[in-house]
């Protein structure tokens, strides 16, 4: 998935901003119009972080500790928003992977994204 990190990441973000407009409130400092440099760059960052998590899947809490602190103390994102982005990532993958996005793959990725978000949200309180 890494070579298309930018495409998948930016599409997932765009889907999230279009379907759940309240999520845009966290990005007033960026230009998040479709295909903007900021959107593509940010999308790439997110997918790269997910890939890093997948490579260290048994030590998610330690690997993601800096990102976790960042999301909790600096970004202070309302935790329900992680689910919205996760859903949009799944939809993006479904659009592009077609038949390869089997129910079992869907379950595994959903489980991984939930675990990832749980770690990102764990330092909130």
């Amino acid at each position: 998935m890494i070579p298309v990190a930018e495409d998948i990441g930016s599409e997932a973000l765009l889907r999230m901003f279009t379907t759940f407009p309240k999520t845009k409130t966290y990005f007033s400092h960026l230009d998040i119009s479709p295909n903007s440099d900021h959107l593509r760059c940010h999308g790439k960052k997110i997918v790269q972080a997910l890939a890093e998590g997948a490579r260290n899947i048994s030590t998610l809490a330690t690997t993601l500790a800096p990102l976790s602190r960042f999301h909790a103390y600096l970004l202070r994102i309302h935790p329900t928003n992680f689910k919205l982005l996760n859903h949009c990532i799944l939809v993006t993958l479904a659009c592009h992977m077609g038949d390869n996005f089997t129910p079992v793959a869907h379950a595994a990725i959903d489980k991984f994204l939930s675990a990832f978000s749980a770690v990102l949200a764990e330092k909130f309180r």
Binding site: T18, T19, T92, A107
Partner: protein, 147 residues
């Protein structure tokens, strides 16, 4: 009352026009039962739900998939009054079936994923947004009769 723009109506009609109830219904239910296994609690009498292959070839699940999509079609045909259209269905889910309403969103999400898989890049962000708005109105109508 929910306001629908002409574009939203067109987008939702467009999605339905491409839906093959038989295959979409069973695939959405299968994904729901596999990705969120606790939902299997509502399908005790349906036979073998052991794994994805078993669920996909289960005739009771297939039949039920069609029932679910026919319900959604009812909402589509009564888009300006989904609340009232779904009163009986809401009572059924709360009183008789006793389904935790949190699970409606899970099945809806799986249905959205199945549609995305079939439509590919035709399922644009704008069409997704309109579709999800429709689904959230349907879910809200289904939740209304829970006390």
């Amino acid at each position: 009352m929910v306001q629908w723009t002409a574009e939203e109506r067109a987008a939702i009609q467009g999605v339905f026009a491409k839906l093959d109830y038989e295959s979409v219904g069973i695939e959405s239910l299968t994904r729901c039962l596999v990705v969120y296994p606790w939902t299997q609690r509502y399908f005790g009498g349906f036979g073998n739900l052991y794994n994805a292959e078993a669920i996909m070839s289960n005739p009771k699940i297939a039949a039920h998939g069609i029932v679910v999509l026919q319900g959604l079609e009812k909402a589509l045909k009564n888009m300006d009054n989904i609340k009232k259209t779904f009163t009986a269905l809401s009572e059924l889910h709360s009183e008789k079936l006793q389904v935790d309403p949190g699970n409606f969103q899970l099945l809806a999400d799986c249905l959205t994923v199945v549609i995305a898989r079939r439509m590919g890049t035709d399922f644009t962000p704008d069409i997704q947004a309109a579709w999800q708005k429709f689904i959230s109105v349907v879910i809200s109508a289904l939740r209304r009769q829970y006390y």
